[in-house]
């Protein structure tokens, strides 16, 4: 994934910074709470929501369980409709393919529709290294690009910025990239949107190459679908002469009819709308309408490794709606950057350590970036049991075991940092399968209770830095029970 994130500190350290940043906390709280309430209303409008959710899960599972077949079918349909299909095993290969395709057109700039896949492979940086400028056209992506920032949310990458900050970035940076921000720009969202309209219009009108991702690819028809709001997607998908779409292999749905589920669940889950303003669907190329050349780059980049894990593969059902981010109490306080990946929040915490492996400090810490409260699972429109996968990945971190990396079976060792914890867990298990040992420990604690401090030194500070410890009672329950037979012998 993106080089931008290499060397990220582990989640707890990054989150600590965010928790103390009151502006960031305020921005995130405001945005996530606004959308949470709206999503709940949009979902409540459909009395068959749970059935749609389960159907979405089933469709995606069916796709994943026969992915080889659907990939081949998709390739045939896209080719038959006039498109060219490319296969990229990893980020480097995808970047190489796109660079070569752009170079072949003789152009040195491309306009981009917001796409998680191209963020994931750091396409913009790769193109820049080849002398090709990539312009982000989604408003939030534009804010991130102009601010030389990193995305912190799947749907709204600039969610960590408030209107005042956005205005400042526009005033300062737009002139560097093209048309400057209008004189006297205010921080009202309407004015900021207008500034983006003016700034980008020039780029749309002269663009010869567009780069996109896709929300869905229909195997039986070869149709690609992009769901958006602003119209920048339509601009990039229809005005250039060449369109290059980089799409993860898991974005397939088998049939045209399958779209009827996701076109109901995705908008309501992501922007809390009955329907998003614009959805574009195209099948290959069309005479005299839109790009004359269409290239589809199918991206693996860790997806097949994820698919090989029977528990973890459900993460590939994700349709990138962001509902799990918006309800997550940890995301709300830690912010997106702490996740060290273009995929933040609960889904990022299970996706990044699978796509990239659990080798790095940040990836090994992500499965723990959750209190397992389950709010993410509850809102997920394809019913990904995120807590289940988090716990499964914790197991991979502490116990190691078999996994697949770049298509090869590997045996992972238990993570080094967990040795003391592992020993403690083992000791606790020993004691907790022996009632006598537990009782001895409890009595010891009760007898020494007056000596217990209310705050702890060393690792215990993690608790007592912010919370008092409960006092240890004079006797454990089991001693009372034994003494009184459950109060029957008096002496309550």
């Amino acid at each position: 994934m993106s080089g931008t994130f290499v060397g990220m500190p582990a989640f707890p350290a990054a989150a600590r910074e965010a928790v103390r940043d009151t502006t960031l906390r305020g921005n995130l709280r405001h945005a996530t709470h606004t959308i949470r309430a709206k999503r709940a209303r949009a979902v409540a409008e459909l009395d068959d929501w749970e059935r749609l959710r389960q159907a979405g899960k089933r469709i995606k599972d069916r796709t994943l369980r026969h992915l080889d077949r659907y990939l081949v079918q998709l390739e045939e349909s896209v080719t038959a409709a006039g498109g060219v299909v490319h296969w990229a095993a990893d980020a480097d290969e995808a970047n190489r393919i796109v660079s070569e395709l752009v170079k072949a057109t003789g152009e040195t700039e491309v306009v981009k529709v917001k796409s998680m896949a191209t963020q994931e492979i750091a396409l913009n940086e790769a193109l820049e290294a080849q002398g090709i400028h990539a312009y982000e056209t989604d408003l939030a992506e534009l804010i991130v690009q102009l601010g030389k920032d990193r995305p912190s949310h799947i749907l709204v990458p600039a969610i960590h910025r408030n209107r005042g900050e956005i205005r400042e970035i526009f005033v300062r940076e737009m002139g560097e990239w093209g048309r400057p921000a209008p004189e006297g720009l205010t921080d009202t969202p309407a004015d900021l949107a207008e500034a983006a309209r003016l700034h980008l219009r020039e780029k749309f009108l002269r663009a010869k190459v567009g780069v996109s991702g896709a929300n869905f690819m229909v195997a039986e028809t070869g149709t690609l679908v992009v769901v958006e709001s602003e119209g920048n997607g339509r601009m990039c998908l229809t005005l250039p002469e060449t369109l290059i779409s980089v799409v993860g292999i898991e974005k397939i749905v088998p049939t045209w009819q399958d779209l009827e589920v996701f076109l109901q669940t995705l908008p309501r889950s992501s922007t809390a709308e009955r329907m998003n303003p614009y959805t574009s669907m195209w099948t290959g190329t069309t005479d005299a309408d839109g790009p004359r050349a269409f290239h589809l780059v199918l991206l693996d980049n860790g997806r097949t490794d994820t698919l090989a894990d029977e528990v973890g593969r459900q993460a590939l059902r994700c349709i990138r709606c962001s509902a799990c981010l918006n309800v997550c109490p940890v995301y709300e306080r830690a912010g997106g950057h702490a996740y060290g990946s273009v995929y933040p929040g609960p889904i990022g915490a299970i996706l990044s350590p699978q796509l990239r492996g659990t080798g790095s400090e940040i990836d090994a810490s992500l499965p723990y970036a959750s209190s397992l409260c389950g709010a993410c699972y509850e809102v997920c429109p394809v019913a990904i049991d995120i807590p289940e996968v988090l716990v499964h990945l914790r197991e991979r971190v502490v116990e190691g075991g078999e996994a697949v990396r770049e298509g090869n079976k590997v045996r992972l060792r238990p993570a080094k940092g967990h040795a003391a914890e592992r020993a403690a867990m083992r000791a606790a298990r020993w004691a907790l399968t022996r009632p006598g040992a537990l009782r001895t420990g409890q009595r010891l604690a009760s007898r020494t209770r007056r000596l217990h401090p209310r705050t702890l030194p060393g690792p215990g500070k993690a608790w007592s830095g912010t919370r008092d410890l409960p006092p240890v009672p004079a006797e454990p329950f089991r001693d009372w029970w034994r003494r009184t037979r459950g109060g029957k012998d008096g002496g309550a």
Partner: protein, 251 residues
Amino acid sequence: MRVALFLTCVNDTLHPDTGRAVVKLLTRLGVDVDFPEAQTCCGQAHYNTGYRHETEPMARHFADVFRDHDAIVTPSGSCGAMVRELYPRMGERARSEGRGDGLATVLAPVVQKTYELTEFLVDVLGVTDVGAYYPHRVTYHPTCHGLRSLGLGERPLRLLRAVKGLELLELPGADECCGFGGTFALKNADVSAAMGADKVRNAEATGAEVLCAADNSCLMHIGGTMTRLRTGMRPVHIAEILASTEEDPAV
């Protein structure tokens, strides 16, 4: 009916009052409650921290201890969810690892007969008015496992509404996690504490004297935050409220 109290290791060690309250309450309702002394721990902390294989002997021990009872009642939403939701999953995982049906078969008998306390009261005993008296302003925090894994829904609230003298105040943002999350409270202490502080502020805003929940692990975190923030509020387990009567009130 042979009813076993599965108190949980945390309650047994740190919150014996909750255990006594459950015994008092169930006895008052005519249930002959037993406390199998061989019980220890369901293994939830091990499992959720990633030590599934270490959890298996604990789960087997649990199944062994409670095998012969007709119902197992626990005053902990998260430990109840561990048995009901995660024991079957552990059995399935063992099977998919090629270790056969052994674990699933051993665990199956205890899964269906395990009830969280408020479930047992409302669904099995069919009572919502347990004859309790608790003259305090109370707000209720539905803990995550109770809310989402077990689906306790309105049960605790129905029980609380029937308590004489109790004024129930609605907790803003009730369904948001308090930030405990087992080892999460230690591994991500800053985020955990921030969540706890927000929960406590919301509780304070209700004007309640008592925040009540059906899980002492969450209450330990919330209570520890309350005293640190000097709120003057107290955390109380729902069992202690339901056990309280005019003759024998809880303090």
